[in-house]
Amino acid sequence: MIANSVVIMVVGMAVVFSFLILLVVLMSVLSGVVLKFFPEKEKEAPAPSSAQAEIAAAIAVAYSRS
């Protein structure tokens, strides 16, 4: 059983490393492809929520009137 546990250790670490190295490679390649061919459009700042808008309006009114 000790031999078997060594087998598991070797196989296990080999698989974990291989798998994650594969992910490193895959994602590096795919990130390159994405960044080159599907670059993200500039996004506008999201519109402020209605509650914030109303507060802003209140402030604006306060300013303009004063």
Binding site: V7, G12, V15, V16, F19, L20, I21, L22, L23, E40
Partner: protein, 412 residues
Amino acid sequence: MGILDTFVELWKSTGIYGFLTLPGVDGWGRLIMIFIGGVLLYLAIKKGFEPLLLVPIGIGCILSNIPFAGIADHVSLVGLASTQGHESVFQIENVAGGFIGMFYDLGITSGLFPLLIFMGVGAMTDFGPLLANPKTFLLGAAAQFGIFIALFGAVLLGKYVPGIDFDLYAAGSIGIIGGADGPTAIYVASRLKPELLGAIAVAAYSYMALVPIIQPPIMKALTSKEERQIKMEQLRHVTKTEKIIFPLVVLGACILLLPSATPLIGALMFGNLAKECGVTDRLSDTMQNALMNIVTIMLGLAVGSKMSADKFLNLNTLGILVLGLVAFSIGTAAGVLLAKLMNKVSKHPINPLIGAAGVSAVPMAARVANKVGQEANPHNYLLMHAMGPNVAGVIGSAVAAGVLLAIVPLLG
């Protein structure tokens, strides 16, 4: 029956009577386990040890050890069975058993609850820091070394220490504590060695809570102050498209290479896809909140129910606690050491402290890396850098779990 006789019968149904008269661990053992459940509550509530899990586990432990109450009894279907040809029909008229037993039988033995939790974890996880610096995947791989060392240690203990009885299934279940990931540990233990589930889950969550105490000495011992001061380059922005592709790539690789890990990885990546795709926010929100909380309550109670005196009050539990600590420590060390090695090889500087975050224990281990880094250099913010190995460690331990599920039955 008269009043006095009735009082006597009632007395014979009290917990006091049960603790005193039931044979062996089934009597006073229950009282000890109830006390241990109370200790878990104390640690969870006063010390802040993973309270979302340890409060339900503690209560589950207490309720399941009450004499005569049968709250953790197996589910029994009672009704009419009939068979025609090779098709059978079982008409249920009544479901007996305890309510926590029901959670265990239906939610844990089936693997359902840990998978649903993992789905919620996926919906809560941002893999962005990992994608910005994919090399940190390797740190999430190195930290799994603790799993296999602990497995090896469990086999040794089982062979050489009298009173400890671990076969390869037990060893695999114990090793996975080193994954520092609750649902993964519960899933693996419920598949390989359900008898040890209680002790394993308690060890896993306790050590996750103890990460701020366990990790820093190891991290400091293995690094110089200069290394701990290393500043890393700012992470690049990760696009939405990359974040959507990522869960599918991981799932695809897992399908091709390691189907035994696909229940875990599939659930995790489904949750992550629901979060990142931007068109299923309702589902992602439910996975993270209502569903996750409901399942956490039931899973915690069910895990607690496996803390029965006969399974818990023995040397095995002590062995599990020791090995779990070993697994965490080795995982931490392996992560730090690989980071040191990578720093030597890589042209981009890598602070070796972030290697310790590879054990997962999200986000605690990343915070610890950040904190230890700031002790060396108060202007060094490692948190986002450490999140990369941290979430890689979740994938890493799910992969390790897949390996264990695939080969332990072959060798055991």
